[in-house]
Amino acid sequence: MNEHLTIYPIIVHLITAVLLLFFWKKPKIQRYISILGSTVGIVIAGMLFHRVWENGILSIQLGNWEAPFGISMVADTLAVTLIVLTNIVSFALSIYSTENMVSSRIKFGYYAIFHFLIMGLSGAFLTGDLFNLYVWFEVIIISSFVLLTIGGRKIQIEGAVKYFTLNMISSIIFLTGIAMVYGATGSLNMAELSRIIPEIENKGLMQTISLIFFIGFGVKSGVFPLYFWLPASYHTPPAAVSALFAGLLTKVGIYAMLRVFTLIFPLGETNQIILMIIAGLTMFFGGIGALVQKNILRVFSYLIICHIGFMVGGLSIFTQVAIVGAVMYMFHDIIVKATLYMMGGIMFRIFGNTKMEKMGGLMDNYPKLSFLFAIPLFALVGIPPLSGFWPKISLFSASYTANEIAMLVMFIFASLITLIIIAKVWNNVFSQNPESIETKSSFKYFKDFNFAEKAAYVVPVVLLVGVTLYYSFFAEHFQLIATRIGEELMNTEHYYNAVFNINEKTKL
């Protein structure tokens, strides 16, 4: 049966998490189970991707309830590509966590919650029902809250409170939007909504609802002006958790925006302008914020915000090329942002802290590592031929052809400011030698690690850098995928036909 495969990415991580709960007190076994589960996850995600790529959009009606009444799970190209990337990141982090996470944290259920979070992400990508999307968002929030606070250091709790409050508020706003949609249309099935909404006469109400959704997703993805929770919390947990959050959590908000604003509420002129202004301000304040930070992890946090603007901006232009650019940027960003935080974890082990003025000389002491770290940093700036370059071509040309010169200027500004920030980071951390590096006696430095411990830190980074390089040199593959995604997003009948099993060759 073909369509069963649709929900297997969720089931794999659910089963892994439950298995991990059985081995609650045995951290060593948990590490192996987690790596095994993530490996199976990659295989299944790959199979699902292959199936969708060959045969078009797959859908399944959970519990065998017919489409508008039951919950549909829909695997279109956007969803499955994100699931593949999610599983790659989760595999890398499973390995990274073996050393980055101390046993006491694993005994508090770190790995189980980690897999519950991946399950929530997969569910959010696959679901075809608005309320079900909300439920997956809750799964994600609850798991991420546990991951943030595990260990219970004071700074973690402080970050977690801010994180939780704002995300809770955004969930409530999202839920309000869902209630209004249901009140106005009587349906929550995304495919059905794509047909009902255009026929509703009260356009003002639909406009309002779409903006309520935008606020809800905007808080989650960290757009201006509601991004303050992000730099306040992302640097507090251990690097593995931050990497997971940086790579995937904010992108779920962007994914939801891409889905809702193409399928359910196609952007009108007003919303386009609102999104453009927000995107521009997000890039501006994110970039400026990153410029003044002293802590390298906080620099990365602000860079996340800055680059969220690229994706929202791409969506706001709302032509097919721009959507392709936004989607491609998202793929690049997931991998690179996760890599950055994993690098941050290694730097913390090398220097003993994350303040940039107390770092330096990485180039002299660890030339190979520096070379490795340089790739994601340069990819972030978008130096050709590295991965950040390709989506930016699409975004620049789309904004130019759509005659959105202000957006083009903001894209260029954000790229330049990223370049300045990366140059500053390079200068501080890699080349310049610090005046004095204090050594803490009770701290285990990177140079004291044995080979296996070093490998657990470096191998996942190498893996993700490998993906970045693949993206860089075989960008046409991603371009092909993104073009098909753009086509699927802009022509909603593919999605509709897949959900309602209308026989049509969805192959493009």
Binding site: I11, L62, N64
Partner: protein, 137 residues
């Protein structure tokens, strides 16, 4: 709280409450009740016992660590959700029903197993939380 009255009552109430919780679990498919509320009632039975007789007595009574019930319940729930995929090839979470009525229980379907899983998870979570809190006080 050492009170003779509470102690006596709790020993009588424990089996009654557990029986009642199973009753609520079983009627849950069509009537108010179900795994969640049944689990809460069962957890209350043990918590009452712990109040009256002390935590150690209750621990001895349950024997296993209540946290162990969480993965067991989850596993049962997952299996009941996946049963249609394995046996009949229907999408996950399709309700499967055994045709004949069974005495006392009535009709049995995969939904009952799902509810049983929820029941165990709720007992496990509640008891773990309450035991941990009363330990640290």
């Amino acid at each position: 709280m050492k009170s003779l009255i509470l102690k006596t009552v709790s020993t009588t109430l424990l089996p009654l409450l557990i029986l009642f919780s199973v009753f609520v679990l079983l009627r849950g498919h069509y009537l108010p009740g179900g795994g969640f509320i049944g689990g809460l009632i069962a957890a209350i039975a043990f918590i009452l016992h712990a109040f009256a007789n002390g935590l150690d007595q209750t621990r001895k009574l349950i024997r296993i660590h209540p946290g162990f019930l969480i993965p067991v319940g989850l596993a049962i729930a997952i299996l009941s959700a996946l049963a249609p995929v394995i046996f009949t090839g229907d999408p996950a979470m399709t309700g499967l029903w055994y045709e004949k009525d069974i005495a006392i229980l009535g009709k049995i379907g995969s939904a009952l197993f799902f509810d049983t899983g929820v029941y165990l998870v709720v007992i496990g979570v509640c008891l773990t939380i309450i035991f941990t809190i009363s330990e640290s006080v």
